[in-house]
């Protein structure tokens, strides 16, 4: 495993998968990210991130129903695991902690 470090994009994908609880799969996650951040995200990148996160144990997956709209292919539905949740919390905590230490002068400037 490549360690438990959570990259920025991975964090976003993980959050999106959490938001779309029960409905999270490649296309919907990409859409969610696009909606939330306005970034144009490549679907291949999303897939890679999803599989990597699953390998790290932050996501689990199962096949959903086959749909006509998908050309008769099943979708893989991802669910956030508790360790995924922990990783998110930790990432947030680190941010908070570091934010709190930024000098006031920087904060006032903008």
């Amino acid at each position: 495993m490549k360690g438990t470090y959570l990259g920025e994009f991975e964090e976003i994908v993980l959050l999106a998968a959490g938001i779309l609880h029960g409905r999270a799969y490649g296309v919907s996650i990409r859409q969610e990210i696009e909606n939330q951040t306005g970034r144009n995200v490549n679907i291949g990148a999303v897939h890679t991130a999803l599989h990597r996160l699953e390998a790290k144990g932050y996501l689990t997956s199962k096949f959903g129903e086959a749909e006509e709209v998908r050309g008769g292919k099943r979708k893989r539905l991802f669910t956030l695991t508790s360790s995924g949740m922990n990783a998110l919390r930790e990432a947030q905590a680190i941010r908070k902690q570091m934010w709190a230490q930024l000098p006031k002068i920087l904060l006032q400037r903008s």
């Binding site: 799969y25 490649g26 296309v27 990409r30 490549n42 679907i43 291949g44 990148a45 897939h47 890679t48 599989h51 699953e54 390998a55 096949f63 749909e67 709209v69 998908r70 050309g71 292919k73 099943r74 979708k75 893989r76």
Partner: protein
Amino acid sequence: MKYHPPYFATKILQWFCHAELVEEVEGDLYELFRERVETVGPFRAKLYYWTDVLHSINPRRSEPRKPSPPSLPYRDRLSHFFIIAFRNMLRSKSSSILNLSGLAISLTGFLLIALYLIDEATYDSFHPDADHVYRISYSFKGFDGKEGRDARAAGLWCIKLKESMPGIKAVTRFSRFGYPGNVRTSDPNHVFVEQQFFWVDPNFTDIFSLPLITGGDVKTILSDPKHVIINETIAHKYFGADDPVGQPIIYMRDGMEFQLIVGAVMKRAPSNTHFKPDFIASSVALDPLWKRNNEDRVNSWMDSFSYSFVTLEPGTDPAKVSQALQEIFNRNLGEFAKVMHPILIPLRDVHFTEGFMFELDAPGDKVHLYIFGSIALLILGMACINYMNLATARSISRSKEVGLRKTLGAGRGMLVMQFLGESLLMTGIALIIAITLLVILLPYFNALTLKDFSLAHLLQTKTVYLLLTAFVTVGTLAGCYPALYLSSFRPMEALKGTFTVGRAPENFRKALVVVQISITLLFITGTYVIHHQLAFIDHTKLSRYKDQIVTVRLGDAVARQKIAGFKQIAQQDPRVKEISTGPHLPRRENFGFMGRAFQFRELDETQRNWDRLDVDFDFPSMFRLEFVAGRNFSVNNPSDTLAIILNETAVKDLGVTAEKALGLQAEGTYYIEVQGIPKPVTMKYNVIGVVKDFNYASVRKAISPIAIGGQWRSAEMMYVMLAGDEFPETLDHLQNVWKQVYPSTPFQYWFMDEEFGRLYQTERQMAKLFNYLGGMAMIIACLGLFGLASFTAEQKTKEIGIRKVMGASTLQILLMLTSRYVRLALIAFFIGIPLAAVAVHSWMEAFVYKAEIGGWYLLWACLLILFVTVFTVGFESLRAARTNPSVSMRHE
């Protein structure tokens, strides 16, 4: 739905995306595509689809998520594997048999040699703490400044060492006093000569292991100096089926009788120990003798009487112990401490040390061990080569199977496992055959190597590990190339039958055959040269009549006095041709020391350390010594007891001509030990003759300068030359005369060629082993050639048919088929001849006197191999060449 994603892009995705991911990815892409058709139009949707596909097939992104579940239950796949493997073996019976027999033969050879090597490498390791035990030996300077080495040590050294130095766990000593001893039971008519009678310190078991059969504690038994411990064999020899414990054993020496009682029976010593006691008695029992002679040889400062051993505490530096011993020398040995230095030899290395006098066994030779080890590996390698050869050669017949398996979804890894498994299976069967063969051959092997291996050796953990290692290594080594090669077939070609065997495996096979033939060449030349050298040794001067000369051991000094009487009575029988006495010849290192100091004051003041042979007047004529100058000893000249005859090397050492050497006077000095202090005694001798050099010791050593003296009283052996061929009767006669003259000394004799057999034991063993191993290599190489030739013939059936139809004769086809192997053999000679020449040369280095071998033997070996190659290949080719073309062409 009007628009579809680009067909080709989807295909690419299906081909290159990981099988497990393809469904979801395809679905996602499809969904996105539809969405994009709505939002950005079909053209750009297709464009995006393409880029997404290209992103998704990036191999790094397509790593599998989980291992795929096995397609068939494991058990089914396993049984399927065995079925297929056995079917394949049965389908190609001939190549399976060739493979099996090759592997089995080589594994047998390998295992036998491995047993031998393990035994040699574990010498003396069964004693507890063996890694921390050292033998105390020492080096000294002779009168001429040359260094000598004695395996033994004076008794007080190690005792003092233990007292004066921390870090010494235990010390113990033992001696072979009186070697060889005359031993009997209460019946005075049953006297045996025993060579393995050891006198030990009662704390013997502090260092050495001594398992008793009869139970009891060795220390308590040995604390009574009346006790002797004997081994099973001796118990049987002396007392038959009776209970040996409590029976009397009498040791006779110097007119004294030591009355002992059997205290216990010990196990026979294993073959891998450098001393194998038959009797063990407490050295305290010798005290009466010391009292009588007023000298204690066990506890002395100068008398190197016992073999001394020390166990060091872990962490004690042996170099420090040597220093401490040197200190002890300095304090207690006076003048001698300057020229005497202690040498510590680790117990496990004792077997391999050379150059020490009074060693307890013939030293092992590590070089020979390496030679044997590499031979075993070479033979094993040859069998692996056979397997590789035949397996790749048969690849065509299996290409369809590979194709089919791949079509049905078998991965390369699975195929590799299958073929490796097959070679492991083959090796396994061969191993079982090899073990069976081993059990059958073990007695003969024991007779050859003088070891006593049994089935129990095979079941030791060490050997079992070895078996497993051999199994896995050979299986993998033999199987890896075929496995990699066979599994690389492309299914399409293999199934269509357009598949052709490429040049690479063909060349690989050729290379393997070349290697095999080179190795065989090496073995054959090796065998030849060893035999040649042995024949040369057999013809060295001393041993020309070796099979007619009986050596009789003259026990103690008493026996020597009556030798004239014995001669007179014995020689009344015409079958007894000549009788002479002399030192124990041929000389082996462990017989001890013949060196004496000589000084020729008429020439210079140098002290010369020459070997001195004390013989009687008949010795030179009996051994047919050739005189270069001067005369033999003569009974008419009573002063000849103080005459000496030199050999040519001695004269050369003096730097004069043989004629000039005559009449020179030599002063010989020797030391008589009186109460532990050596006193020099000087004698004057006249040189009366010079003889040609003769080999009185191993031809491994250069002949040293010798002086033959007429002092028959110190002779060790009697030599009797027999005439005619009624040897058993003549021996009976000798024995009867012996009984009359020496009623209390056993008649111990052997023919001189037996002694030579012992002297050249390693060479003889080596020659015999080489015979067998060379034969083995030859058989394996032939098997390989035979298999390949028959395969080639089968491959070329059609070609042969066409050639015959076009008018080729049987002979031409035979030539065509055999010439390629002849060419390979020639290449092999090109590689093998230099190798063989170098190997032979380095082996011969060990001998000072070498047989002339020239270079012709290489030619003969090559011709032999060529002949066997042509014969093996030709036999199989002839069959192919003589087939009726209509039969061979009917394939179509």
